[in-house]
């Protein structure tokens, strides 16, 4: 059985008009992502990988080129339709977590469902709680972001991206602000989600993080430079076990 094409882009370009100069961030990118894939997008800074990710996440529109998300031609959509698409089909994880301050973990996770009129309060709470369970934070539901560690905050953000059952989860440098151990923990969650069949696209500039994916796409100067299938794919759970025992467990206890 052929796998479903979740993302299909052709000849995507993006030009930022900075007044005096025009910056060509993307110079024609073609890429397909199939259901269940775990793709890592890599490249040096300025290679256009983040711009590409934002376009995939419908946070920004390409200057030219075609983008089909789950069969929908994104370029023809209005602002409201794009918002609807982000709400129903995409889960986005940011480098800086972007949690609402002074708002509990549970409510942060609920946020996308607030913008879905079909979902009533009871279902919203259930699904948010379920998402928190998937990232192992059900006991932290009432905590505010400033009471959580960086890794925990990113896990809340992942739960938030999960809560609307997206067709694809996109993450822009999700481990960029985290230390090695917590990065691995976050990658463990991504791998677990991928094992459950969730399609994942991830931007990173760290080579060891990209080894957790099945496929690496390397950007350079706004184009795809290389596409490689990962050999010796790393399993985050194993990598965590290999790390020297640290006091991270105690840290969590303190927070609790």
């Amino acid at each position: 059985m052929e796998k479903k094409k979740i993302i299909s882009v052709h000849g995507i370009t993006k030009v930022f008009d900075m007044g005096a100069v025009k910056v060509h961030a993307l110079r024609g990118v073609d890429l397909d992502i199939y259901e269940g894939e775990f793709t890592a997008i890599m490249g040096p800074s300025g290679s256009g990988k983040s711009t590409f990710m934002n376009i995939l996440g419908c946070l920004d529109l390409p200057t030219s080129g075609d983008y089909f998300l789950d069969g929908v031609d994104v370029r023809t959509l209005t602002r409201d339709q794009l918002a609807h698409l982000r709400n129903r089909k995409i889960g986005f994880v940011f480098q800086t977590f972007n949690l609402l301050a002074r708002t509990s973990a549970l409510e942060n996770v609920e946020l996308p469902l607030f913008y879905n009129r079909e979902i009533r309060k009871k279902e919203r709470l259930e699904r948010a709680m379920e998402s928190l369970k998937m990232v192992g934070l059900e006991r932290w539901a009432d905590h505010l972001p400033n009471q959580l560690s960086g890794g925990q905050q990113q896990r809340v953000a992942i739960a938030r991206a999960l809560v609307n059952n997206p067709v694809i989860m996109l993450a822009d440098e999700p481990t960029g602000n985290l230390d090695t151990r917590t990065s691995f923990e976050v990658m463990e969650i991504f791998q677990n989600l991928n094992n459950r069949g969730i399609t994942i696209g991830l931007v990173t500039h760290e080579a060891d993080i990209s080894k957790f994916a099945y496929r690496n796409v390397i950007f350079r100067d706004g184009r795809i430079h290389q596409e490689i299938a990962v050999k010796n794919r790393k399993i985050a759970t194993d990598e965590l076990a290999k790390l020297p025992a640290e006091d991270d467990f105690i840290e969590e206890q303190e927070v609790l």
Binding site: G57, D80, H84, N87, R88, N98, R102, Y115, N116
Partner: protein, 407 residues
């Protein structure tokens, strides 16, 4: 996002910056409070004018002889036809809507009692004048129609006159006073009426029989200065006015289209004249207060713009997870409206409180009407929507990516 959730989000964000929220609301609070207080003062002075006009008597109609004005041009003085006692009798007999009628002869004179003297107004009247003006005799008794006709030298004193001629707590009934060297016997004291709507002391007066004043104090004239009339009820006062006008035109041979050489004024007309002045005051005061409300609104706009800038990343995030422009618009608009509405409610409270203070500290006549409260509430909501719209729209039009990247 449904309205309950929007409401919770808005309340939370207002509570996040309590001091700022309060200071922003202060503009609206002061604006609304001053609108309410100004309207209350205006309404109060209007009510007090009305009350004082009512105190003039019941359904009073006054006739003044003399040229009337047309388009600001006075007719020649010689054209004035004077009113005589025959006219009074004719009105009494032929106008069915007239209940009481009394001619009034006024004189100002020096009054002497023992070692004291006092300058006051002497009103020559028929007893019906007391019915027209709702005057009451506090002590002693009123003279009768025969006295008024005959010109008996008796009088009733107002409270101020008693105080000045005899001192307080003295009963002057039975005592003699001299008005321009004419001896009068005091037969009563009139119940005090207080200040009139125009600020004059209504108790600084002496009432005497009509013909006594005409003959002894006004140089034996037969011309009548003024006629006081009471219609049988308020509804009949314009009918009475019409009847009197027709009768006097006929008697004085004045054509229908000509200006009559007398003026007939009803109590309602005087009331209208005086309240139109206070109406102007109300409008003036309320518009000044309204300007302060607008200034308060600008304060809200300013803070909402700051809030939008501060929360650009939050807006970006909300959009990234599926908020549409209109969701963001609603969120910020609701916040602005809540801000002005809360300010409005507090302003109403402050306005009512300060109106009470005017009453208790300055003894001003102040009336807070539900209409002014409603108006202030409505305006504060409109201010919120109006001044919240621009910042909210600015937020709604952000591009998610730019908003998320905003530092």
């Amino acid at each position: 996002m449904n309205y309950l959730n929007l409401f919770i989000v808005a309340i939370r964000s207002l509570f996040k910056n309590k001091v700022r929220t309060f200071l922003t609301m202060l503009g609206i609070i002061i604006g609304v409070a001053s609108v309410i207080a100004m309207l209350a003062i205006g309404q109060g002075s209007r009510d007090s004018i009305e009350r004082q006009i009512q105190e003039m008597g019941s359904n009073v109609i006054m006739i003044f002889p003399g040229a009337s004005y047309r388009g600001g041009v006075a007719s020649a003085a010689g054209t004035a036809v004077s009113l005589e006692m025959d006219d009074v009798n004719a009105i009494r007999d032929e106008c069915p809507s007239v209940k009481y009628i009394s001619p009034v002869a006024r004189a100002s004179a020096q009054v002497i009692a023992g070692a004291n003297n006092w300058n006051t107004q002497i009103y020559g009247i028929y007893p019906e004048y007391f019915d027209i003006r709702s005057l009451k005799v506090e002590n002693g008794e009123l003279f009768n129609d025969a006295d008024a006709r005959r010109g008996t030298k008796v009088c009733l004193l107002g409270k101020t006159v008693v105080d000045n001629l005899f001192g307080e707590d003295v009963d002057p009934v039975g005592m003699k006073i001299r008005i321009r060297n004419v001896p009068f016997r005091v037969i009563g004291v009139v119940q005090p009426k207080g200040q009139s709507g125009m600020g004059s002391d209504q108790d600084d007066v002496i009432y005497a029989p009509f013909n006594t004043v005409q003959r002894r104090l006004r140089g034996a004239t037969t011309k009548i200065q003024q006629i006081y009339i009471s219609a049988i009820s308020e509804e009949y006062s314009s009918k009475a006015q019409e009847e009197i006008d027709q009768l006097l035109r006929q008697r004085k041979h004045v054509a229908q289209n000509d200006d009559p050489p007398y003026r007939i004024r009803t109590q309602q007309e005087i009331l209208r004249m005086l309240t139109s002045t206070s109406q102007t005051m109300i409008v003036l005061l309320a518009s000044i207060a309204g300007i302060s409300l607008i200034v308060g609104g600008i304060g809200i706009m300013n803070i909402m713009l700051v809030s939008v800038t501060e929360r650009t990343r939050e807006i970006g995030l909300r959009m990234a997870v599926g908020a549409r422009g209109r969701d963001i618009l609603r969120q910020f608009l609701l916040e602005a409206v809540l801000l002005s509405l809360l300010g409005g409610l507090m302003g109403i409270a402050l306005g009512i409180f300060s109106s009470r203070m005017f009453v208790s500290l300055l003894n001003w006549p102040v009336t807070v009407t539900s209409y002014s409260v409603f108006l202030a509430f409505l305006f504060s909501t409109i201010v919120g929507v109006f001044f919240g719209w621009y910042p909210a729209r600015k937020a709604a039009r952000l591009i998610p990516m730019d908003a998320l990247r905003y530092e």
